[in-house]
Symmetry: C2
Subunit: 110 residues, 2 copies
Amino acid sequence: MKISTEMLKGVLEGIVLQIISGGETYGYEITKELNQHGFEDLVEGTVYTILMRLEKNQLVTVEKKKSTKGPARKFYSLNAAGQKTLETFWQNWEFLDQQMTHLKEDNHVQ
Amino acid sequence: MKISTEMLKGVLEGIVLQIISGGETYGYEITKELNQHGFEDLVEGTVYTILMRLEKNQLVTVEKKKSTKGPARKFYSLNAAGQKTLETFWQNWEFLDQQMTHLKEDNHVQ
DNA sequence: GCCACTACTTAGTTTTACTATGTAGTGGTA
DNA sequence: TACCACTACATAGTAAAACTAAGTAGTGGC
């Protein structure tokens, strides 16, 4: 099973924030992690554009570190604004989740 | 609480399908119903574009009926393809929901 | 006659993710 | 040492979906 790409809009940014909140990480690793957790078709390009957006919106701090396996990695961490945004994201998600549950149950005629 | 608009992309079409599956209805009514169920900021224009997409994609049948309160209403019903799409939508939603739950629990460091 | 409410339509914009491609560093191996 | 696989980041252009904003039109009440 894979997730329809349109359904991810507005959710993917929160997902990436959540992963970063679990500990300093970088784009390539985030992509691999998501690929192994249901987001099979997600490619690097998508993750990098999100990371750049997060940086532009000042939700993360970035630190470049050398790797033994390739080019230098850009490690991302959440700052206070990022934490706040993440909390708001989960509140929104939970609210939407509730509405969807109601919608399905209330409206289920059959 | 209102739902962030970006989070709705790809979800709203399923929501509208679900509402129609509960019984023949029309755009204006769907809008009002959603406005009263957490989707406060949703406006008619958005619903109508979705309805036209559903019609274009042949997921619904349309019947025009006179109203005593204004212009004629366009009543929508799901056809077989619409039912199928709705089922797939809920499967996708549930899968995403599960992934989100895992993501939040597995990754929750604090 | 005007207004509120009902009801549908649509052109243009914004946001977000995808497609596709490119650049570059490291280590293994033939 | 030349090549390849893998690691790692960047970005221009496109597509999809919802929003903004404005319009048209019918009905009944005051």
